[in-house]
Symmetry: C2
DNA sequence: CGGTATCCGCGACGATACTG
DNA sequence: CAGTATCGTCGCGGATACCG
């Protein structure tokens, strides 16, 4: 693989998980299916607008699945797709490196 | 490790390599030591300002080493630190996932 | 050669109000 | 409950000029 491909592929990954809130969202969805309000409650700092936007982008990238129940009151569930679950390895490696890095910076 | 730590660690990694030009810079430095002008030539799209800024940040994070030769004309060499080389695993995993992701999107 | 300094546009992100 | 719509802010990154 050429340097260009290597770099472009890294950037493609960053586009998918690089959003400000996406790692956090993906982390919460590792635990399983969650409703919109559940995610909102677990991430009080995020606005509804940003949560919606980031969820939509993750959905478009095939990472998460959105299941809307047509009922009143509305109910929407978000979960990782099988494809989205393949991101776990990436997140794990990043988490491990980041954890060492943080330790290093505070030594 | 708690969810908070996991998420914070991923974000710590993103802070280090998430900059717009950093994956590209790190990719070029995998090949070995490079001079400022060399990097500039290999990345014609980046401005000198951004190249300088991103190199400084990578240096502050301990990822790269900056060696300035006190002479006229100036000569500055950048290289990965031993610590910076540990990022390779992270970049590799991201590259592999991103490459599959790009294929998937164009199927 | 390898940078700074300065100015500025634009898009990401936020706050708030409203709705099916 | 799960969103839109609208408006406002902020800082990243680009353009250009200058410097040791």
């Amino acid at each position: 693989m050429g340097d260009q491909d290597f770099k472009n592929s890294v950037e493609a990954t960053l586009k998918v998980i690089g959003g400000k809130w996406k790692p956090m969202i993906l982390c919460h969805l590792q635990e399983g299916t969650k409703r919109f309000g559940e995610l909102k409650r677990e991430m009080p700092e995020i606005t509804e607008k940003m949560l919606t936007e980031q969820l939509r982008e993750l959905e478009q990238d095939g990472i998460i699945h959105r299941k809307a129940y047509i009922q009143v009151p509305p109910k929407v569930e978000y979960s990782l797709t099988e494809y989205g679950k393949t991101l776990r390895e990436v997140l794990d490696v990043m988490s491990r490196w980041g954890s060492k890095h943080r330790m290093r910076r505070t030594e």
